[in-house]
C-alpha cells in the first residue's frame, strides 16, 4: 500500500470500513461530520448499514442494538453529542459487549465552538457514562495513528468485550496528512456465543445491564474490575522521546503531545535536556512509567488543550516525587512550541 493524503475524520471512517465495520449510526456535528459523510457513501456501496439517526441519543442506542447482535458497529460524535451518549455508553459497558465510539473533541463547555480541544479528557477517562467502570481510551496524535488506532479499537473491544473510545482533538480530525490505510478485511460473519440472533435450536440469550440484587450487581462490578486490571496490565501504551537523559519531562497526548515533541527539539537545540512522554492510551494511563521517570527528572510539565485534566493523572502517578507544572490553552487555541519552551524555561528557573 502507498501513502495518500487523508483527512483524519475520513481516515478513521475508511479504516473502520477496512476493519470490517458492518454498521454505523451517527448524527452530524462539527468537527466530526466528515466521518459520517464518508460512511454515508461507503457503507451502502458495500451493502453495509449506514443510518443517520435522529439524535446522538438514538445513535448510541442503535449502536447498542447492533452490537447486541455481535456485529462490528460504531458511532462517532463531538463533545456535545458525546455528552448525549452517556447513558447509552454506560449500558453498553455494563452489558459486556464490544463497542467502538469516536469523540472528536471541540471547544467547550456548552455549545462552545468547533475548534480543537481536549476538554473531554475527564469525561472519556473517568467513565464515559454513569456507574463504575472505565472505557479503554485511545488518543491518536496523527492521521496515521488515527487509522491504526481505529483498527486496534475494534480488536481490543472484541478481545476484552469492552467499550473503546477513540478520543481525538478536532485538529487530528480536520487536518490532512499522508497516511497509509490498512488492507480490506473480510466482514467477520461469525457471531459470538452471546449474540442475539434468534434462539434457533439453542437456549435463549439475554443482553442486560439490570441486576436488582446488590450481591449480583457487586459480583458483576468485581468481574468488570478484574477485567480492567488485566487490560491495564496489557494494554497501556505510550511513546517516549529523548527521556533517557532528560532533566525535564513533558507529558502531552494528541495534538498537544505532538506540539510538545517540537518543543523538545527546540529545547535540545538550546541545550536544555528535555524529554517527552506521550500517552497513547488515556485509560489505561502509563502511571508506572511516569512514576519511574519522575525519579529521574527535576520537573514535569503537562501540556494540554484544556485547563488541566490529565494533570490530575500525572500528579497521581508522580505522587510527589517531583514538581508537576502545567501549560494549557483553551477555547480552541492550539499551544505553540515556543510557548511550551517558555514554560519549560520558567520551570527551569524556578527549580534550579
Amino acid at each position: 500500500m502507498t501513502k495518500q493524503l487523508l483527512k483524519g475524520n475520513v481516515a478513521i471512517a475508511e479504516a473502520a470500513v477496512r476493519a470490517g465495520l458492518e454498521a454505523y449510526f451517527g448524527y452530524p456535528i462539527t468537527p466530526q461530520t466528515e466521518l459520517l459523510e464518508h460512511l454515508s457513501a461507503r457503507m451502502p456501496e458495500l451493502g453495509r448499514v449506514f443510518l443517520q439517526a435522529e439524535s446522538e441519543v438514538a445513535a448510541i442506542n442503535m449502536l447498542y442494538g447492533a452490537l447486541s447482535t455481535g456485529a462490528r458497529a460504531m458511532t462517532s460524535s463531538s463533545s456535545p453529542g458525546f455528552s448525549l451518549m452517556q447513558e447509552g455508553l454506560s449500558y453498553i459497558a455494563a452489558s459486556d459487549i464490544p463497542g467502538v465510539v469516536v469523540d472528536v473533541m471541540r471547544g467547550g463547555p456548552g455549545l462552545g465552538n468547533i475548534l480543537p480541544s481536549q476538554g473531554d479528557y475527564f469525561q472519556v477517562t473517568r467513565s464515559a457514562g454513569h456507574g463504575d467502570y472505565r472505557p479503554i481510551v485511545l488518543a491518536p496524535a496523527s492521521v496515521q495513528e488515527a487509522i491504526d488506532f481505529t483498527v486496534l479499537a475494534f480488536d481490543l473491544a472484541e478481545q476484552y468485550r469492552h467499550l473503546v473510545i477513540i478520543a481525538l482533538d478536532g485538529l487530528i480530525g480536520q487536518m490532512m496528512e499522508p497516511a497509509e490505510l490498512p488492507p480490506m478485511r473480510d466482514i467477520n460473519t461469525h457471531r459470538p456465543d452471546w449474540a442475539l440472533t434468534g434462539a434457533e435450536g439453542r437456549p435463549k440469550r439475554m443482553i442486560s445491564s439490570l441486576y436488582l440484587q446488590a450481591e449480583a450487581q457487586e459480583a458483576v462490578n468485581r468481574r468488570t474490575q478484574a477485567r480492567l486490571k488485566i487490560i491495564s496490565e496489557n494494554e497501556t501504551r505510550w511513546i517516549e522521546y529523548m527521556t533517557d537523559d532528560a532533566d525535564y519531562l513533558l507529558v502531552g497526548y494528541g495534538s498537544a503531545g505532538r506540539i510538545a515533541y517540537s518543543a523538545v527539539q527546540s529545547a535540545r537545540r538550546d541545550g536544555l535536556k528535555v524529554g517527552l512522554l506521550r500517552p497513547q492510551t488515556l485509560w489505561p494511563f502509563p502511571s508506572e512509567r511516569l512514576h519511574e521517570l519522575a525519579g529521574q527528572v527535576r520537573g514535569c510539565l503537562v501540556v494540554e488543550m484544556n485547563a488541566g485534566q490529565m494533570l490530575d493523572d500525572v500528579r497521581l502517578a508522580v505522587n510527589g516525587r517531583v514538581a508537576v507544572d502545567f501549560f494549557g490553552r483553551m477555547g480552541g487555541i492550539v499551544p505553540m512550541p515556543d510557548e511550551i519552551l517558555g514554560a519549560i524555561q520558567q520551570m527551569q528557573h524556578e527549580r534550579i
Partner: protein
C-alpha cells in the same frame, strides 16, 4: 409421577405457550400486563416465530419481560427501545424484532425514538401499553394520564394549564408515511382481548411481509397505582380511557389487508 391418573378422554384446552418460560411474573394482581404478554406469546407461537424473534424490553414494569419469554432478548434504556430495535433489525433484517413499551417509556422520554422509527418505516413491531400512569416508579403522571387524574405527581389531578392534554400516540403515529399498521385495542374485557390478539398477529405479519412500522396500542390497567380493585380498574378503562383513547385502526397501509387475508409465508 401422576401416571395413575387416567387422562385418555381429556383434551388440552389451555397451556403455556412455547414462547413463554415457566418463570412467574412479578406483576401486581389484576394488572393486564400479563394479559398482553400472553397475547404476544400466543401470536409468536401461532406464526412459528419463537426462534427468529428478538424481544426488546423497556424500562418500566415490563423491564423483566424478556425473562418471561423463551426468546433472545435485551433491555433498552428508558424510551430507547425503538432505537435499539432499529440497530438489531438493520443488521439482521431476516429476524423479527419486537419492542414492548409502556406509555412513560414510549410517549414521554422515548417520543422521539418511536416517532423517527415510524418516519423511517422501520420494519419492527411495537406493543405499546397505555395505562395512563408510570407504574414502576410508583404512580406518577404520564403524558397519557387523563385530565383530572390524580397521581403521585399530580395530587390535585392532571390540569391542562400545568401539563397539557393526554397524548394520543396512535393517532399521531398514524399520520406518518412510514407507519404501515397502527391500531388501538383494549384489554378490559374478553371480546376486546380477542381483538387485541388479532391485531398483534397482524402487526407481526406486517413485519414478516416487510411492510414497515407496526404498532399495537393496548389500553391496560394499573390497579395498584390507580388505587382501584382489578374489576374497578377494568371498568375505569371503559369509562375513563376509551372516550379519550378510542379503539380503532388508525393506519392500515396498502398491502396490510392482503396480509390479514392471506397471511404470510412463515419463513419469509
Amino acid at each position: 409421577m401422576t401416571a395413575d391418573i387416567k387422562c385418555d378422554d381429556m383434551t388440552i384446552t389451555y397451556q403455556r405457550p412455547d414462547a413463554f418460560t415457566d418463570a412467574h411474573t412479578h406483576y401486581c394482581p389484576g394488572c393486564t400486563h400479563g394479559v398482553a404478554h400472553r397475547l404476544l406469546a400466543e401470536a409468536l407461537d401461532e406464526l412459528n416465530l419463537r426462534e427468529k424473534t428478538i424481544l426488546v424490553a423497556p424500562v418500566g414494569c415490563a423491564v423483566f419481560i424478556a425473562d418471561y419469554f423463551e426468546l433472545d432478548g435485551c433491555i433498552a434504556a428508558h424510551g430507547r427501545a425503538p432505537a435499539m430495535a432499529t440497530g438489531i433489525k438493520r443488521v439482521q433484517p431476516d429476524k423479527v424484532v419486537v419492542t414492548y413499551q409502556g406509555d412513560g417509556d414510549l410517549a414521554s422520554i422515548g417520543a422521539a425514538e418511536v416517532m423517527h422509527a415510524a418516519v423511517r418505516g422501520e420494519n419492527i413491531t411495537i406493543v405499546f401499553i397505555n395505562n395512563a400512569i408510570y407504574g414502576m416508579t410508583g404512580g406518577q403522571m404520564a403524558p397519557t394520564s387523563i385530565i383530572g387524574q390524580k397521581t403521585t405527581s399530580s395530587p390535585q389531578g392532571r390540569s391542562v394549564v400545568q401539563s397539557g392534554h393526554p397524548i394520543q400516540m396512535s393517532e399521531l403515529l398514524a399520520g406518518l408515511a412510514g407507519s404501515a399498521y397502527v391500531v388501538r385495542r383494549s384489554l378490559h374485557d374478553a371480546a376486546n382481548i380477542r381483538k387485541a390478539k388479532k391485531a398483534i398477529l397482524t402487526a407481526l405479519k406486517v413485519q414478516q411481509a416487510g411492510l414497515g412500522f407496526s404498532l399495537v396500542e393496548l389500553l391496560s390497567t394499573c390497579p395498584t397505582n390507580w388505587g382501584l380493585s382489578p374489576m374497578d380498574s377494568l371498568a375505569w378503562v371503559k369509562t375513563h380511557m376509551l372516550p379519550i383513547y378510542p379503539v380503532g385502526d388508525f393506519k392500515v397501509a396498502d398491502g396490510v389487508k392482503e396480509v390479514m387475508r392471506d397471511g404470510v409465508r412463515s419463513n419469509s
